[in-house]
């Protein structure tokens, strides 16, 4: 996968086990968000394939891609709530557009979903009235309101205080359990990764250089992985 002449992902192979939480770690600009966008079909690779339930999503029609996206939730780094709509309207939107539910049912489901992330009281608020942590949780609610099979979280704990980080990490774990879905999380927050991840994959220079359970990756003998996990300036990673 490249942007212009800049190659971001090369020889990158990653399998996401169904029903697990997999966290992708790596340096800033390593291509972690690109992987999420490839999984959601927002980007198409220059070469290679992305399979979802054995279907190659790189070679399907736009209408099939849209249908596929309704089964995947995407929680963006800065929530990306539509600022012309209230929080409730944001969360209701996928239901309103993709289901034949009545307005009353949509309201009930949206309220229940907001309640599950502790934001039922913000239903009528505009996104600009919410704090950073609340915005992220509202973004989670919109991502999971249709009960997707897979939820993609782009740096869910970046830029929030430790208490909110803990709350968001808990929310991700709980939502995965409640929805019985798969979660792919991009994060730099090692503590929250250790708390929630079933599997960890480390991306470096466009390829996955370490993959396994939290313990396996923590015990990795790869000096790059160790330098990253220890946050050390000394090591093979060029600064």
């Amino acid at each position: 996968m490249s942007f212009g002449e800049r190659v971001v992902l090369q020889n990158c192979s990653l399998e996401v086990p169904e029903g697990s939480i997999i966290c992708i770690i790596g340096l800033s600009g390593a291509g972690k968000s690109t992987i999420l966008r490839l999984l959601d079909g927002l980007l198409l690779p220059n070469s290679g394939h992305v399979y979802l339930h054995q279907h190659d999503i790189c070679h399907i029609r736009e209408s099939q891609l849209i249908e596929m996206r309704t089964k995947i939730g995407f929680a963006f780094q800065f929530a990306a709530l539509f600022d012309s709509m209230t929080v409730g309207e944001n969360v209701s939107l996928p239901l309103r557009e993709h289901t034949t539910l009545t307005e009353k049912e949509i309201h009930e489901i949206a309220m229940h979903t907001l309640d599950s992330v502790g934001l039922a009281h913000t239903y009528h608020n505009m996104p600009s009235e919410l704090s950073g942590g609340m915005l992220k949780r509202a973004g989670f609610a919109r991502a999971v309101v249709t009960n997707p099979e897979m939820v993609l979280y782009d740096e869910p704990t970046t830029g929030v205080d430790p208490i909110v980080t803990h709350l968001l990490t808990d929310t991700i774990k709980r939502l995965r359990k409640e929805l019985n879905s798969t979660a792919v999380v991009i994060s730099h927050d090692l503590q929250s990764i250790y708390m929630m991840a079933d599997y960890v994959a480390m991306l470096f220079e466009g390829a996955i250089i370490a993959y396994g359970t939290v313990e396996e990756v923590r015990k990795s003998t790869n000096p790059i992985v160790q330098q990253f996990l220890q946050g050390s300036e000394v090591g093979p990673i060029p600064l």
């Binding site: 927002l42 849209i66 996206r69 309704t70 995407f74 539509f82 600022d83 993709h98």
Partner: protein, 279 residues
């Protein structure tokens, strides 16, 4: 001779000239390539939008909302612009016409010009300044804050969700605004003709009726319809291709207005040529 030529070719001055020439050619090539890319992208977006409309995949409530935001809220500025343009046009022409004994033609001259050219074009330029920038800035800020990607990730097409309502709103509202602009422009001209040159209301209107036909009004409205499409599509295209954060949004809004006004002037000439030259 060959020795002299070789020395000239290898001199630093010759190398500098070569570098400058290559630089100029590369710059021209880049601009031409960018222009084609822009036109291609704009055409594809317009085609995609028209296809969505033809499939009747329209969000009616949002279209009405955009009619209010883009059309109704532009009414005052369009009326003021048109009123004063009609008045100043009448001011310039009425006294001279009376002086040379053509006072009875002033109504025709003013309304002919307002209905055929000034009404449609001034309304379009005013709406372009107000709405094209607004569309580009709104969609641009949605692009840089990942809201467009969020729409796609929810399985919603940005063209249907954002572009179609704005296009339809401008296709409906700009011709309506032009009708108001025509009426106000002619009435302003009529008032100034009466105050400054003592041309009676009935004489003014009789001349106007004699000169301006129904087809002139329809052709003026057709121009407005095309201008509405141009404003919506250029604004949307600039917005959806925004990159580079807040600075990029500002750049997109400026580019949208500048491009839009230039295209409106060029298209106005082309349409006037084909609509009126034959007649």
């Amino acid at each position: 001779m060959a020795q002299v030529l070789r020395e000239v070719e290898e001199s630093p001055a010759a190398h500098a000239v070569e570098r400058v020439s290559v630089g100029v050619l590369a710059s021209i090539g880049r601009r031409v390539s960018d222009s084609f890319e822009y036109m291609g992208g704009l055409t594809m977006l317009t085609w995609e939008t028209l296809k969505t409309i033809l499939r009747l995949r329209i969000r009616f409530a949002e279209t009405l909302n955009q009619c209010y935001l883009l059309g109704y809220q532009s009414l005052i500025i369009v009326l003021l612009t048109s009123l004063f343009t009609g008045m100043v046009f009448s001011l310039e022409s009425a006294l001279t016409a009376v002086q040379y004994g053509f006072g009875s033609f002033v109504g025709g001259i003013v309304s002919y010009t307002v209905v055929r050219e000034l009404g449609p074009m001034l309304s379009a330029v005013v709406v372009a300044g107000r709405c094209c920038a607004a569309i580009a800035a709104e969609l641009g800020s949605m692009e840089v804050t990942e809201q467009i990607e969020a729409l796609k990730s929810l399985g919603l097409a940005p063209v249907r969700f954002l572009v179609v309502p704005r296009l339809l709103a401008l296709m409906i509202m700009l011709p309506l605004l032009t009708i108001f602009a025509d009426v106000v422009g002619v009435k302003g001209g009529q008032w100034i003709a009466y105050v400054q040159a003592h041309i009676g209301t009935q004489d003014f209107m009789a001349s106007a009726r004699q000169t301006v036909g129904f087809d002139d009004v329809v052709k003026g409205l057709f121009k407005s319809l095309i201008f509405g499409i141009v404003i919506a599509m250029i604004g949307a295209y600039e917005g959806l291709t925004t990159t580079g954060g807040a600075a990029g949004v500002g750049k997109s809004a400026t580019n949208a207005v500048v491009t839009c006004i230039i295209v409106i002037f060029i298209l106005n000439f082309i349409m006037s040529y084909f609509l009126y030259a034959g007649a």
